[in-house]
């Protein structure tokens, strides 16, 4: 059984107004897109408050909104680890230590940085895997959106796919990266303003935070509102992970691998107006990121505490936690607010897809087309290629969405393979930026070994009946623990092989590495900036808030 919501005329008007504004933004920006730099890099002139909010929103798809509310209902505040230790330290690190090389090297993409720092084959490996993953991920989220709107609102699957793909196509082909960034900022405000009342109304109903605690205790609370006190052993918390796996796997490898190397998010900072703005971008993003659990996870916990078990839709005889957010919306939002909430979800889907398509665009045009197909084209030629690539990227996403409908397990397998590919990336960047002796051969073979290490770990261990393709050497309490430990193994394999192969191969002359490696790059001078604009001070401020939140919810 699934929930069904019916829309009032006002809900439809709000959804329609959003689509009109999005198209209007694309249309207005079209006139500003004169060069390929404008289209792919927003001419590097966007202020940091915009790139910061886009940096955050690019990661905040609707799947994540639904998934985090579901995890909130299932695991409680433990889910906040994904927003706090699983994101914020990495955001501080990329801002303070890595952005000087991404932005300062004038690389136009993350794979291009790899070519400048290492060599062509390392760039090719990263560019091709990123391009394929990005376009398929975009297809997966398109599929998920069409399924959600079909089940929740009774909309046609095909209509949802083609309509949203059409709107995204119109605004990204017109305004390029700027369009995508602007819509991510719009999405940010829609999510904050669309979902804050859900927490407010829910907490009011529950009798405040203490009332919520009381209700959870009465239900046999297993530490739903605590982050650390049950983390000594995998069996003592519902996630099935112990503190070391969480801190190293999620807090270090996975989080740094995503926030510090994924071009989808780093591209937002690369569009900033100057170096200081690029460095402030992840730090500005970190502040709302730390507060997001209160509007995406707390509604899930409230759903568990307030909505009787009999009202929850079932899946295979058990409560279907994925319905937490729709249930809360149904329970607390009348017509009007319902339209606002659904518009926020639709905006997350569309801007998620636009983000993927614009990142795909840049990597395809700069790192594949310009590098291997046509090296000496004019700027106008590459601008035209960018526009055509937008169309092709969207058609491929739609194809990906239909592919997933025909092969049930494909989505799970794709996400698994993407995990293998992403897990070792941070080791490569860490050694590249901070160890001048690391070489192109080291990076390439290290990356491949890391991917192989992740796949081998999955093939040798079992969790919740998954994995163990080759042998069954270890059993994890949960898939999450298996995922975190797989990432740790991938990182270690990549790190060790990169170091060994680098030491065995010839180093690059130091003169070629200036601006690409920390020890060969002059320190940035930012004393002319007011204290509240200095990245180091902002980083410390963000860290203090992070520690305070973890302490309060310990």
């Amino acid at each position: 059984m699934l929930l069904h919501l019916s829309l009032n005329w006002l809900d439809k008007v709000i959804l329609g107004l959003y689509c009109l504004f999005v198209l209007g933004i694309g249309w207005r920006l079209k006139r500003q897109m004169r060069t390929s730099d404008d289209f792919f890099l927003s001419g590097r002139r966007i202020p940091s408050w915009i790139t910061g909010l886009a940096f955050l929103s690019a990661n905040l798809g609707a799947l994540e909104m639904m998934g985090m509310a579901a995890s909130g209902a299932k695991y409680g505040m433990l889910t906040s680890h994904f927003y706090w230790i699983g994101a914020v330290p990495a955001m501080i690190f990329v801002a303070l230590f890595m952005m000087p090389f991404y932005y300062g090297s004038k690389a136009r993409s993350v794979p291009e940085y790899l070519r400048l720092r290492f060599d062509e084959k390392t760039r090719a490996l990263n560019a091709f895997t990123f391009a394929i993953m990005t376009v398929l991920m975009s297809g997966i989220s398109l599929y998920a959106m069409a399924i959600l709107f079909r089940d929740l609102l009774g909309w046609s699957f095909d209509l949802s796919i083609w309509l949203s793909a059409g709107i995204v196509l119109l605004y990204t082909a017109s305004g390029g990266l700027t369009s995508s960034i602007y819509n991510e900022v719009l999405q940010f405000f829609l999510i904050v303003l669309g979902f804050t009342p859900l927490t407010w109304l829910g907490l009011r109903e529950a009798g405040g935070w203490h009332g919520l605690q009381g209700r959870l205790l009465a239900m046999g609370d297993r530490g739903y509102l605590h982050l650390w006190q049950n983390m000594a052993h995998p069996s003592s918390n519902p996630m099935g992970v112990e503190w070391f796996g969480l801190v190293m796997g999620l807090g270090f490898v996975l989080s740094f691998g995503y926030w510090c190397t994924d071009f989808l998010v780093v591209q937002r900072a690369m569009a900033a107006e100057d170096m200081a703005a690029a460095r402030r971008t992840p730090l500005i993003a970190a502040v709302p990121k730390m507060l997001f659990p209160f509007i995406v996870i707390v509604p899930g916990i409230l759903a568990l505490a307030l909505i009787p078990a009999a009202h929850w839709p079932l899946q295979k005889g058990a409560i279907n936690f994925n319905e937490a957010l729709p249930l809360m919306i149904q329970q607390f939002y009348p017509a009007g607010m319902l339209g606002l909430g659904l518009t926020a979800l639709l905006a997350s889907f569309m801007s998620g897809m636009a983000g993927n398509v614009t990142a795909f665009n840049s990597v395809w045009t700069y790192d594949i087309y310009q590098s291997y197909i046509k090296r000496d084209g004019s700027d106008a030629h590459y601008l035209a290629v960018g526009r055509w690539t937008t169309i092709i990227g969207i058609v491929l996403s739609v194809g990906g969405a239909y592919l997933v409908t025909h092969f049930d397990n494909l989505m799970d397998y794709m996400q698994l393979v993407f995990g293998f590919v992403n897990a070792p990336l941070f080791a490569t960047f860490l050694l590249g930026m901070f160890w001048k002796r690391s070489t192109g051969h080291g990076a390439f073979w290290g990356l491949l070994s890391g991917m192989f290490g992740a796949a081998a770990h999955y093939s040798l261990t079992v969790a919740e009946g998954k994995g163990g393709w080759i042998a069954h050497l270890h059993t994890y309490s949960s898939s999450m623990a298996q995922n975190f430990w797989g990432a740790i193994w991938a990182f270690v394999a990549c790190f060790a092989v990169t170091v060994m192969v680098s030491l065995a191969s010839a180093p690059r002359p130091e003169a070629e590495l200036a601006g690409l490696v920390r020890s060969l790059t002059p320190r940035l001078e930012e004393k002319h900036l007011a204290w509240f604009r200095r990245p180091a001070y902002l980083g410390v401020g963000v860290l203090v808030i992070l520690v305070a939140l973890n302490w309060y919810f310990r």
Partner: protein, 86 residues
Amino acid sequence: MDLRTPIGWLFTVVGVLLTAFGWLHRTAAFMPTGIDIDLVWGVVLLVFGLFMLGLAWRARKRRERGPAPAAANAAAASHERQAASR
């Protein structure tokens, strides 16, 4: 284009619609929690929308007046330092 302008307009229009809708539908069916959330949140959206429009308007006025001497100096200093760091 100043992004605050379309954001401001979108939330102003949605805010007005929600406020009016909430005002006209003050029945139990539209107030599942006892609060007229459409009316209350409509006002919040309206205030936010007008605030964004106000910021965009102020920025436009400043641009028309030309850059302030202090801001121009800071921008020039930042360019020099960037050039030096390259």
